[in-house]
């Protein structure tokens, strides 16, 4: 399982990369893409939309299901990875290069996990 050390994580399998104190990129983890299966479509928000920590901001569709993606931070969307609209499979092949949104003016965040803490949760989930 690929869990890079330099990122923060959520229980709901999103990763966060802080570019500076108030700006971050958000994506879905390797575990998430494995659980979802082949991704065929993504419904992305727009630049300027606000996101709230713990609320859904996007959904992804695999051949079997549609799943919500939750924002780990509260702020304003400053960029959207439009490339994923045409190539959602990149979230499968390179989950940590495939950021979904970039959030600026971050004013809040949920309790984020370190790589070790997230790896432990993944291992526990797998054991169930």
């Amino acid at each position: 399982m690929n869990i890079p050390q330099n990122l923060s994580y959520t229980k709901s399998h999103e990763w966060v990369l802080f570019l500076n104190e108030t700006t971050a990129r958000v994506g879905i983890t390797d575990t998430a893409q494995q659980l979802l299966g082949d991704l065929v479509y993504i419904n992305l928000p727009e630049v300027g939309d606000s996101v709230v920590s713990g609320d859904t901001f996007s959904d992804v569709e695999s051949v079997k299901a549609v799943s919500d993606i939750y924002s780990p931070v509260t702020g304003e969307i400053s960029a959207v990875n439009e490339e994923l609209k045409d190539a959602p499979q990149k979230m499968n092949t390179a989950p940590y290069d495939s950021w979904l949104i970039e959030v600026k003016n971050i004013t809040g965040q949920e309790k984020l996990l370190t790589a070790e803490q997230y790896a432990k949760i993944c291992a526990e989930e797998e054991a169930h």
Partner: protein
Amino acid sequence: MSYIPSSQQERQEMLQTVGVAAMDNLFAVVPSALQIKQLNLPSAKSELEVSRMMRKIAGKNRVFSSIFRGAGAYHHYIPAIVKSITAKESFLTAYTPYQAEISQGILQSIFEYQTMICELTGMDVSNASIYDGASAAAEAMTMCHERKRDRVLISATVLPMVIQTVQTYCNGNDMTVELIPEKSGVTDIEALETMLNDKTACVYLQQPNYFGMLEAAEKVGEAAHRAGAKFVMGINPIAAAVLKTPRDCGADIAVGEGQPLGMPLSFGGPYLGFMATNTAMTRRLPGRIVGETVDIEGKRAFVLTLQAREQHIRREKASSNVCSNQALCAMTASVYCSAMGPSGLQEVANQCHAKAHYAARQISAIPGFALRNQGEFFHEFLTETPCRAETVLAKLAEKDILGGYPVSNGILWCVTEMNSKAQIDALTTALKEVSLACN
């Protein structure tokens, strides 16, 4: 004979499992005053009695020998083969297949229907159909709903029932509906330009419109797109055989009432809503979509596709709760289109156009029946009336003619390939008499 799928013993076991002594105890919580001890139903009737009763009810319909009314439902010739094919019981009695892929024949018939709708509209993808033209229009509005765009602009020249249905859906969908005013029988494009803004989700236009007039569809589409809104066209499928396709007019979604494609005029339907869109909006298209694939042996096969859009997977996040289609009506449309062929459909459209224009010239020459609007029309046109429309229609009914539909103090006439020259001339003669009597 009552159909109860469980045996007496199985029911007893179930009662035991839930800890209830008898079936009646299950309903003990229902106050006895509300419990139905016996249904007050009439006794069963024989086939002969039922047949007589149904004929008596059907006899209340008045079927005119000469029909000059459209206004949303159109009188066309239905080739005999349409009914003989669709009456096969494997088509006629089949309900929406829940284990869809086991019914390859049904799926293929829907696939052929979708292909024909795409050819007729010029669009990339069609769904398997929905209930009727009005609900298709309303579902199209939902497809255009975006977080920052919730205004629907619908032309006042659209069939009133479609406007009402759009209003009903949008009310429950947090969208607002505004009417684009009419000017000389067509959509007022200047007014539209002033109404468009960055909250506009879409513009809905009907071609030909409720008054039979041809709209400047491309201009309306361009105006909508300049404001970043979607352009939705409601079309008459017969007129579509000779008019520019919605795709060529720049439409993002094309919808319409499929009744003219081989479905008879009847008291309340069933009718057929068709919906088609472009590749970019495919995933927003509601309802079922049948796709073509190959089976494990490489043979052509059909499947329901893109189902993750649908309610049974997306649950409360689904944008539509349509989960069935009008399979028999869709098949009727595809058999009709196959029987007619592209040139046959064009012939029907050309006859409608030519006969309607002949009738319009004859009728508008009669004192009191001038054309309300100038401009191009297809097979319907609105005239003035020298006295109340109801009076005119009553006079025509005496001669076994169903006259046009009373619309905004005038009469909306419709002429199709079903109307012979003799019928049109008889109508003209009758109207001349009415005109003299009124004045």
